[in-house]
Each structure stands twice: as C-alpha cells, then as structure tokens.
C-alpha cells in the first residue's frame, strides 16, 4: 500500500500537486512513482518558463530507467528544488516533502480542481 496523502491532488502521470495559495502550487513525484522508478540519480529541469498542460517540465534519471515529468495544467515554473541537484535521492527518501520538484503558478484554478483526489489516484494505481 502506497502512501497517498489525502490533502494533495494527483495526475495520471504520477505527480502530486499541493495548493500553496496565491495561485502557487508545489508539485512532486508520488511515492508510488518513485518506488516504481527506483533510485533517482539525476534531475533535469529546464527552469523558469511557461508551460502548457502536459508539457514536459523536466526529466528524472534513475539507475535503471528514465522518466519525464509533466505540467499538470497551464503554468509557469517559479521555483525549482535546488537541493535535488546534489541529492536527487531526496525524491526517493521523502517524495512528498524534501523531494518536491517545483513550485508552479497559474491564474486559472480550474486546472487544479480537475486533478484526481487521493481516492481517485489510489483507484487509478489499483490500490
């Protein structure tokens, strides 16, 4: 059974999104996704710019595989987690905390409202 915090929203590409207020949202990779990927050794994020929903925000390199992560809705990256540069394994150790990937901003809250609830995400991954 994966850890799926109730108060977060989720995407079908296994990102979690947290409402920080003021149109800002923190996002990261779910426990389930990091567990599937295994040990993450490198994070690449092109940086502060605008993205459309579903655009590639960056990529994650694990020992055995690589995956991209995606914009959950139309947004702009305002901050990336610079600790991941030296310690990408934070994503494995603390995916919902110190392993966060980015803070994004949007003027349109409907994108967030359309994401999956914890229960829906749990059903989605079959747990």
């Amino acid at each position: 059974m994966s850890d799926i915090p109730e108060k977060l929203r989720y995407t079908e590409t296994h990102e979690w999104v947290k409402d920080l207020g003021n149109g800002e949202y923190m996002m990261g990779l779910t426990f389930y996704a990091q567990d599937q990927m295994g040990e993450i050794v490198m994070v690449e994020c092109p940086g502060i710019q605008d993205f459309n929903s579903g655009d590639i925000l960056g990529s994650l390199e694990a020992v055995k595989t690589a995956e991209d992560f995606y914009a959950p809705f139309n947004c702009k990256i305002v901050r990336i987690n610079e600790d991941l540069e030296d310690e990408p394994a934070l994503i494995n150790e603390d995916p919902f905390g110190r392993g966060w990937l980015a803070v994004i901003k949007t003027d349109d809250p409907s994108g967030y409202d359309g994401l999956k609830s914890a229960e829906e995400y749990s059903d989605f991954i079959g747990e």
Binding site: E39, M42, E61, V63, A89
Partner: protein, 365 residues
C-alpha cells in the same frame, strides 16, 4: 523459477531489494547504489556473487583443451589466473571468463551466470580427442567477493595464508574463516580485492565471518547495482551488454587476450587474425557525457545526421559526477577526443570519446 544462492536469507534479513538476474534471485542493493559504490571506492564492501558459474577441467590434456577452446594462453604458472574470451568459429564471443590455473592439469573456469547452460554445452561439444574430466560445480559453489582499498586488511584477518604474497590475478587454496577455500586476488570493481570460492554449505559462515572481520573497517554488503556502476566506471565490459555473439574480441579491444603471437590453434583464430590485420570496421570506446543526463544501452550515436554508433552501457558515474558510456562506433570515430551526440528520448546529448578507465584512482594492484 529463480534459483536462490546460499546467502539468500542473509540478503532478506539485511533488507536487500531482490530482483531476478540471470536465473537467480539476487540482491540489487541494500541501501542505495551510490552509497554502496562509494563504500567500495573508499573502504571495503562484500558481494554475494554465487550466481557465477564454475567449471573444473582436469586431466593430462587440460591445458591443450583450454588453449583450443579459449582465445588466451594457458601458459601461466600454477597459482595464477588469466582472463579470456571463448569464441565461435566466426569470432563472435560465447562468453568472457576468468580461468584459475590450479596445476598444469587442473583449471577452474569462472563464467557468467547468464551463460552457464550455453557455455556448459559449448565446452562439452569440444572434448573429442582430449583426455579430460569436466565438472560443472556451479550449484555447489558460493562466491563471496571482498573489494575496496581495505579489502586486504579484512581478508587477512580470516586466513593464515600471507596475502601480500598473492599478486593481482593470483590465487591460493587454503583455509578461510576455517573453511576450505580458493582465495583469489581478482575482481570487477577497479579496486584491490579478493574473490573467495567456498562450498555452498560454508557460505553463510564465511559471510558472517567477513561481516564481523570487516566491522572495524565499516564493511557493507554491496548489491549488483553498484557492481555494475563500479565496473563501468573503470571500463570493464559486461557480456550481454558490451559484447556478445555478434562482436569479436578484436572489436571489443580485447585483442590482448587473443594469443595470435603463439602458433596455437584455437576456435576463431582465422577470423581474428584476418580482422587484426585488416582492422575492424568498428571499435568499442569510452564516452564521457558532456551535458546532463546519460544515454543507456541501445541509445544511438550521431555525428550530425549520420548514425555512427550505439551505446552498449551507460550510467551516471558516482565517483565522477557525470555520465559515462561504453559504445560501439564506426572506425574513424573511435579516436580520443571525437565529439558525437547521443539520442536520448528525442533529445541529443553531447558526448566525447575518452581514454579508459573513466575513473583512474582505483586501488587495484
């Protein structure tokens, strides 16, 4: 159904992540690959490599048989070992292996786990005309490797044999942790270290003794994940990734284990002699990744729009902090300093051919 090594319960108790590998259920890592990698580079680690295969060759024709079967020369002294390839008549590689010479009439071949059945059939297909006894001891043998700059100190605590007298690629049979063992100064990490071959039933006692003896040096168990990054960082090839039946030792830059300077006949000699003279059309090279990320096995290499090669192994090099690869490239693109691009999920990553090993500070004797 995957086989378990004699140390399966130890790995479970240590909380290892276990995965299927070459027909065995093996520990991939106990903590993280990076931490285990650094433990072996800077201190000492212990591996369960019992999945490896062991074939014993005994008899008055043992040397002559191995000289025909293998590309390298058996003419080393008893107590020494040699690395070799075993090839098909077309020069393609059946397997790469270490051979321990016990005496003029007895050898122990160590083959890759994934190739045990294939190799055993191949070896047995070539015994006509040789007076030898062959035994597949793979299921009765366990292998514990102690690797890292502190490996000798740990290993010496468990045997009365003087390890300082055992050079790199030499071995001795004697007691280790009170059990009969073959103690060899060999490894696959680029560090100093020993490989200890014992009976299956002695493996747990040997493992416990090594962990206890290594405690003062901070010894840690190391999984196959770090074994792969350790070998890649020093440019050692892995059968199935970097070479197989479609590649020859000459292309794989293993010409040094092909005894063309002798007049001994061996399988694949004709093809290899011709290839050495005419020069291969492709070579294996080391690539340093100049950008972020790293290409993996199967990634294509380009100069502009022209495809000039393919990556055979790729990883982040933990001790170096950037990506490294082994790759086959067309002749002409193999010279040191050649800049190419690797295609990774639709993007191009710049890479440059460099001299091997990538990591040059290993403690290997």
């Amino acid at each position: 159904m995957d086989k378990k090594t004699a140390l399966y319960d130890k790995h479970i108790n240590l909380g290892a992540r276990m995965e299927s590998f070459a027909g065995y259920i093996m520990p991939i890592k106990y903590t993280t690959v990076k931490e285990e990698h650094n433990t072996v580079r800077n201190g000492v680690g212990v591996f369960d490599l019992s999945h490896m295969g062991e074939f014993r060759v005994k008899g008055k024709d043992a040397s002559r048989f191995l000289d025909y079967l293998l590309t390298n020369d058996s003419a080393v002294k008893p107590g020494k070992a040699y690395y070799s390839t075993m090839c098909y008549p077309d020069g393609g590689i059946v397997d790469d292996l270490i051979v321990y010479k016990i005496s003029e009439n007895e050898y122990l071949m160590i083959v890759n786990a994934s190739n045990i059945e294939k190799d055993w059939a191949w070896v047995n297909n070539h015994t006509d005309g040789y007076s030898i006894d062959l035994t597949n001891e793979s299921d009765e043998t366990a292998l514990v490797a102690i690797q890292g700059p502190d490996a000798e100190k740990v290993t010496q605590k468990l045997t009365d044999e003087n390890l300082q007298e055992i050079e790199y690629y030499a071995h001795i049979s004697g007691l280790f942790a009170g059990k009969q063992a073959l103690i060899a100064r060999t490894g696959y990490t680029g560090e100093d270290g020993f490989e200890i071959y014992v009976k299956f039933e002695d493996a747990e006692a040997v493992w416990d003794a090594v962990m206890e003896a290594g405690r003062e040096f901070g010894i840690k168990p190391i999984g196959l994940g770090a074994r792969d990054t350790l070998r890649l960082e020093v440019g050692y090839l892995l059968y199935g990734n970097d070479m197989d039946h479609t590649t020859t030792p000459i292309e794989a830059k293993l010409g040094w284990v092909v005894k063309l300077k002798t007049d001994k006949e061996f399988i694949g000699r004709e093809v290899m002699a011709r290839q050495k003279q005419e020069k291969p059309t492709r070579y294996i090279v080391g690539l340093e990744v100049l950008g972020k990320g790293f290409p993996r096995h199967g990634a294509e290499l380009y100069e502009g729009n022209r495809k000039v090669g393919i990556v055979t192994s790729g990883s982040l090099a933990p001790a170096l902090g950037h990506g490294v690869c082994l790759a086959f490239v067309e002749k002409g693109y193999h010279k040191k300093g050649t800049e190419l691009e690797a295609e990774v999920r639709g993007k191009r990553i710049p890479v440059k051919t460099v001299k091997l090993p990538f990591y040059k500070d290993g403690s290997r004797k």
